[in-house]
């Protein structure tokens, strides 16, 4: 059985009495040691879905509705706040795009890591510090004995991201949610951080949900991919399957958009138009106004499906 099961998770925003569905009945599984890439453009709901499952929604106007999030059999949505606090930062860790705004600038790096270890494992101050140094070593901080007493501003951008990973790893999580962990970094540093996450998976059997807009990052690091569009999961499968034979026209469009394929001044393929506003969704399939192979049913019926949510999946193309 998979380690994490997400079933029909919805996130609703309440805008002055008007309800807007940001995430609409999303389901996926995550096995032990698996890396799942959650891909989509800005506003597609990929971050909100993960914020909902870890119950860390950024505004009181947002709420999770229905569904279940089972971590090792336990439904997180049924837990009270104290129960959830024990899981969050313990079994379930999260790292963010911008380490500078998620590390406390007035607290030494070591203390930030040790704080979680003391809270979740009841370790002594001395023991927590020793563990913090060990975690810093594991995430590749040189000279961790000395660096443990540094403040975040004394670290470079790449090292801060490593430090944030260390904070998340302090309590030996089984699942790590990484929200655009390399988007703010240079390509060379991005390669270092991705390599680190892969090594951590291999050494500790860590399961990772990687939220990203970059299909290249997904192709090189993930095992499975889930693509989101306008709050819905539109396609989900193994990375080999999904990248070589995308079934949803949106997935195919995203792959075709990437400029990496060739050089020369040929025009790039694009997806015409832009994503819909979530409070003014089109009827039927949310992608149909931009879809190159739209059929009559598409404007009327919202497609369902675990592997691909499309009325006219592309099938195996040559």
């Amino acid at each position: 059985m998979s380690l994490l099961q997400v079933r029909d998770l919805s996130v609703i925003a309440n805008n002055a009495g008007r309800e807007v569905t940001l995430v609409d009945r999303v389901s996926f599984d995550l096995a032990e040691g698996e890396i799942l890439g959650l891909v989509g453009e800005s506003g597609s709901g990929k971050t909100m879905a993960c914020r909902g499952l870890i119950r860390l929604l950024p505004s009181p106007n947002l709420r999770v509705q229905g569904g279940a999030v089972r971590l090792a059999g336990q439904d997180l949505l049924q837990l009270d706040d104290a129960g959830m606090r024990a899981i969050r930062g313990g079994q379930l860790g999260m790292i963010f795009q911008n380490p500078s705004s998620h590390l406390d600038p007035l607290m030494r790096i070591g203390e930030q890591i040790a704080e979680g270890i003391r809270l979740h494992q009841g370790a002594s101050k001395k023991d927590a510090r020793r563990q913090a140094i060990e975690v810093l070593r594991q995430v590749g901080i040189p000279d961790p004995q000395a660096r443990v007493d540094n403040y975040p501003h004394e670290f470079s951008g790449g090292m801060r991201q490593r430090a944030m990973i260390a904070v998340a790893l302090g309590c030996n999580p089984t699942v790590l949610i990484a929200d655009e962990p390399t988007t703010a970094l240079d390509v060379t540093v991005q390669a270092q951080i991705l390599r680190l996450l892969l090594d951590l998976r291999d050494q500790r059997g860590l399961s990772i949900i990687m939220i990203t807009h970059d299909l290249g990052v997904v192709a090189q690091t993930c095992d499975a991919i889930a693509v989101m569009y306008a709050g819905r999961l539109c396609e989900h499968g193994s990375k080999y399957e999904l990248l070589a034979h995308p079934q949803h026209p949106y997935t195919a469009g995203l792959i075709d958009c990437q400029p990496a394929h060739s050089s020369g001044h040929a025009l790039l393929r694009t997806i015409a138009g832009q994503p819909p506003l979530l409070d003014a969704l089109p009827a039927g399939c949310r992608f149909h106004p931009r879809c190159p192979q739209v059929g009559s049913v598409c404007a009327e019926v919202l497609p369902e499906g675990a592997r691909v949510a499309c009325h006219y999946p592309l099938g195996d193309r040559p």
Binding site: Q192, A219, Q258
Partner: protein, 335 residues
């Protein structure tokens, strides 16, 4: 002759808080002796990590940054020591597109007012024709004329960037400096903006300096590419030559780090280590030597020589090309 010639350009900034009363002032050498040429109708990509000085260089060309030493010749006239008249002419024939499309537009002006202001100040058309020209410019960048009445807050990111491009085109420039102009956009919108630039460039014979950290886009859009590291150009040449046989280890590492959509191509097991050092304290010799896997003892002592190979130049002691297999290309399915 080249439209734009840059010779030994230096841009220095005083580091804040350096010494009491500014004694022992420390200097950040953002651009440290750069020479580049750009012909009319040519697209030159300028790539490098953050802090490499690529934006400082781009801004210095348009006199938006002070020039500490060297020359910037636009149409043969030295703008580094140019008179106010020369600089007014430079502004009349050049334009810049910025990274954050929302921050680059005045939120209190409508799109129409923003474009009309440029036309009025630069006296590009007669006052009574301004409204018609605004419509033409919007059409040129693929926006409906009705958008002229809207303010940036009610536009999407892609639409705002199109307005930014329309504003640049309003001066009928011969040179555009585009600083990370698609970095803030979603992939599906990124492609639309790149296509727009490609079309406009071919139609108007524009010269474009395309500053970017995304090498894949540079490969697609540019004729030539220059790679910058800590204020210096370490390699420059035709896009295909540089991408298929990079000569500088830094270029090779950058190319290797591009995440490619090929599930069969693994992540590099040993990515380029470290991060660029502070430009306040440049390493001696070749600035790249502390991160270079091919570094020899001499690299930390002397500046590397610059070699020329047809139109390809690079500054490295290595004489053999750094060959690496071109990444396998995923078949492009027809849409």
């Amino acid at each position: 002759m080249s439209l734009l010639q840059i010779k030994d350009l230096e841009v220095r900034f005083a580091a804040s808080g350096s010494g009491m009363f500014g004694l022992n002032k420390q200097w950040v050498r953002a651009v440290n002796g750069v020479s580049l040429n750009l012909a009319a109708g040519e697209t030159l990509g300028l790539v490098g990590e953050s802090g490499s000085g690529k934006s400082s260089l781009g801004r210095a060309i348009l006199h938006l940054n002070p020039i500490s030493a060297g020359q910037v010749l636009f149409d043969g006239i030295d703008m580094a020591h140019g008179s106010a008249v020369d600089i007014a002419r430079l502004r009349h024939e050049t334009a810049m597109i910025f990274q954050d499309p929302y921050a680059a537009l005045n939120p209190r002006h409508t799109v129409g007012e923003t474009l009309a202001e440029v036309l009025r100040v630069q006296r590009k058309v007669a006052p009574e024709q301004i409204a018609r020209r605004v419509d033409e410019l919007l059409e040129l960048v693929g926006l409906r004329p009705e958008l002229a009445a809207r303010k940036p807050g009610s536009l999407s990111g892609g639409q705002c960037q199109r307005v930014g491009i329309a504003r640049a085109l309003a001066v009928e420039p011969r040179l555009i400096i585009a600083d990370e102009c698609v970095a803030a956009l979603d992939v599906s919108i990124q492609g639309q903006i790149i296509n727009l630039l490609l079309e406009l460039q071919q139609r108007m014979n524009l010269a474009i300096l395309f500053i970017a950290h995304d090498l894949a886009i540079v490969r697609r859009l540019c004729d030539r590419v220059a790679v910058m590291y800590l204020g210096k150009i370490v390699e420059e040449g035709p896009v295909e030559a540089v991408f298929t046989s990079p000569r500088h280890p830094y270029t090779a590492a950058l190319i290797q780090a591009i995440p490619e959509i090929d599930p069969h191509r693994p992540l590099p097991t040993e990515p380029l280590p470290g991060e660029p050092p502070s430009p306040l304290n440049l390493p001696t010799g070749c600035a790249f030597h502390p991160r270079c896997r091919y570094a020899q003892t001499m690299c930390s002592v002397v500046l590397p020589p610059t070699y020329f190979l047809h139109e390809h130049r690079y500054s490295c002691v290595l004489e053999e090309p750094l060959l690496q297999p071109t990444p396998a290309i995923l078949e492009q399915p027809p849409l």
